[in-house]
Symmetry: C2
Subunit: 313 residues, 2 copies
């Protein structure tokens, strides 16, 4: 089957990697990047990336390309206005780290009929086109929306793109996605920042003694601050809930240290949950097909239980 074409808006680390991976998988690809520096770097690598959003989107409309929004959250509203103006009928997805706020913006611009949200769970502490690679998503989980009202055609194209980029697809609705990533992506960022500050509170002596546990625990604090805020802050409600849980766990450990010199049951609990993570078995969803009766609800329920989609046949 001939592959459809893919138009990526915003060719930073994630968007740029989608462009590269899609091209490597045989899609016709092109993209837009606001910064001319970034666009030029992509062109120098042989990719068709331009700063003229109208031209880029008119081409998408003409080709019925799948549009992938890869801009950070603060730039979303403006880019959706452009999509609405120049390519309102294209299938549309995004790779932004929250889903409910993106879906709300998409609805506001009346683009929801052909929209299916996405979120590839991959990244590095780097950013920009220079950090993008064609294999960033290989073996990664790629969350794809199964929210009520999703349509089969755009959904199928988004899932196919994710699979062609080497990912496995986790079907999930927006609100549940946002609560999950608050815990396993946004909270790790916040804890890494706090650890970096608390560690440095010990001065050069402490930093000079720091080894693997501090290095790994603060790794993502090396991410550009604007990017971290753009990733975490749109998910404020779910992140606050995850932070409240963490504050309870740490306060409890702190109180145990005070009263009896132990860390309470935190160490056993943390160990057993890390083992659970290490030994988690993904299982393949094979019996639910897009368009089947109740397909969205059934996929949602399968995703909650750890099910993934590995192919679409």
């Amino acid at each position: 089957m001939k592959k459809s074409s893919v138009c990526v808006l915003g060719t930073g680390l994630i968007g740029g990697s989608v462009l590269r991976a899609a091209a490597a998988a045989g899609y016709e690809t092109w993209g837009y990047n606001r910064s001319e520096t970034g666009a030029r770097a992509a062109r120098a690598d042989g990719f068709d990336v331009d700063g003229d959003i109208a031209a880029v989107l008119r081409r998408a409309a003409a080709a019925d390309a799948l549009i992938v929004i890869g801009v950070p959250m603060p730039a979303l509203d403006s880019i959706l206005s452009d999509v609405r103006e120049f390519a309102p009928d294209c299938p549309l997805t995004d790779v932004i780290s929250v889903k409910a706020p993106v879906a709300a913006a998409v609805r506001k611009h009346e683009l929801d009929a052909r929209y299916v949200g996405g979120h590839p769970m991959a990244g590095t502490a780097e950013s920009g086109w220079a950090a993008s690679t064609a294999d960033l998503f290989r073996g990664a989980a790629w969350a794809v929306g199964v929210d009520p009202g999703s349509h089969v055609d755009p959904w199928t194209r988004v899932v196919r793109l994710a699979l062609d980029c080497g990912s496995v697809v986790v079907p999930v609705v927006a609100a549940e996605h946002d609560r999950a990533v608050a815990r396993i992506s946004h909270l790790p960022h916040v804890l890494a920042e706090a650890l970096a500050v608390a560690g440095a509170g010990g001065g050069d002596l402490a930093l000079g003694l720091a080894a693997g546990s501090f290095r790994d625990g603060t790794r993502v604090a090396a991410t550009a601050p604007d990017l971290v805020r753009a990733i975490c802050e749109p998910n404020a409600t779910a992140l606050r809930e995850a932070l409240d849980d963490t504050l309870r766990l740490l306060s409890d450990a702190r109180d145990h240290l005070t009263t009896n010199g132990t860390l309470g049951n935190l160490i056993d609990a943390g160990y057993s949950e890390r083992v659970r993570y290490d030994t988690l078995q993904r299982w393949d969803i094979t019996d639910i097909h897009p368009g089947d009766h109740d397909w969205l609800e059934r996929l949602r329920e399968a995703g909650q239980r750890g099910g993934v989609i590995r192919d679409l046949t």
Copy 2:
């Protein structure tokens, strides 16, 4: 110069790696391990490790070996009784993760005249002889005590061993060591455990979406719980202080999320401290020699400012 001999008590990950590294550096080495399984594994790899503590220590006394205590904190008191009984005049060090409680126990057993504390800042989530390697300490910082009253001969032998194992030596007094490692070693353990629990609170969906930030942030939660407790809990006071700082940082971020949907200044602060850590320059202490006037106090002050010892000449 002929190398002195080294006797390691407790041949787990750290002690076993000291034994291997010292042997590789040309020391005559032997050791003790309480568990016969561990001792047998070491012997199978060609190392002279025995379960007879009296015999092992008598040999140390006869050879004036440097004794390295590598048992976890809960086993320290018993092993010091043995040292006191069978080899009270040997130079003595340890590789335990806190220093003030070890020094107190050493004083209680009247072994302080020949004792100089040590702490190589290296490890993995694994434990036991099977995880030990000769190059674990290569490039690592190795904290060596410069507490008032330390004597030149044992101090020099401990520093030489650390250097021969490939480490750089950070001179530090016990209380300052303990406050520093609370922040860059014990706190990372506690945060990793809390992150593992809070992340798993999102169920299999969240764990299935987890990627690099969660994996790295929880890595050390895979360490055996007994070992984590033995590392962190003897440092309760300093760890509580570091935890209090962390709780303040996280509560402040949480309050900002509630009132204005931002994380306050935590992200900028964390980024700049991580950059500080990444760009920290060690500098070489070259002008202070053991036995010089005020050598201990001058080494302490140099260590506070990021100075390290790379050779002893």
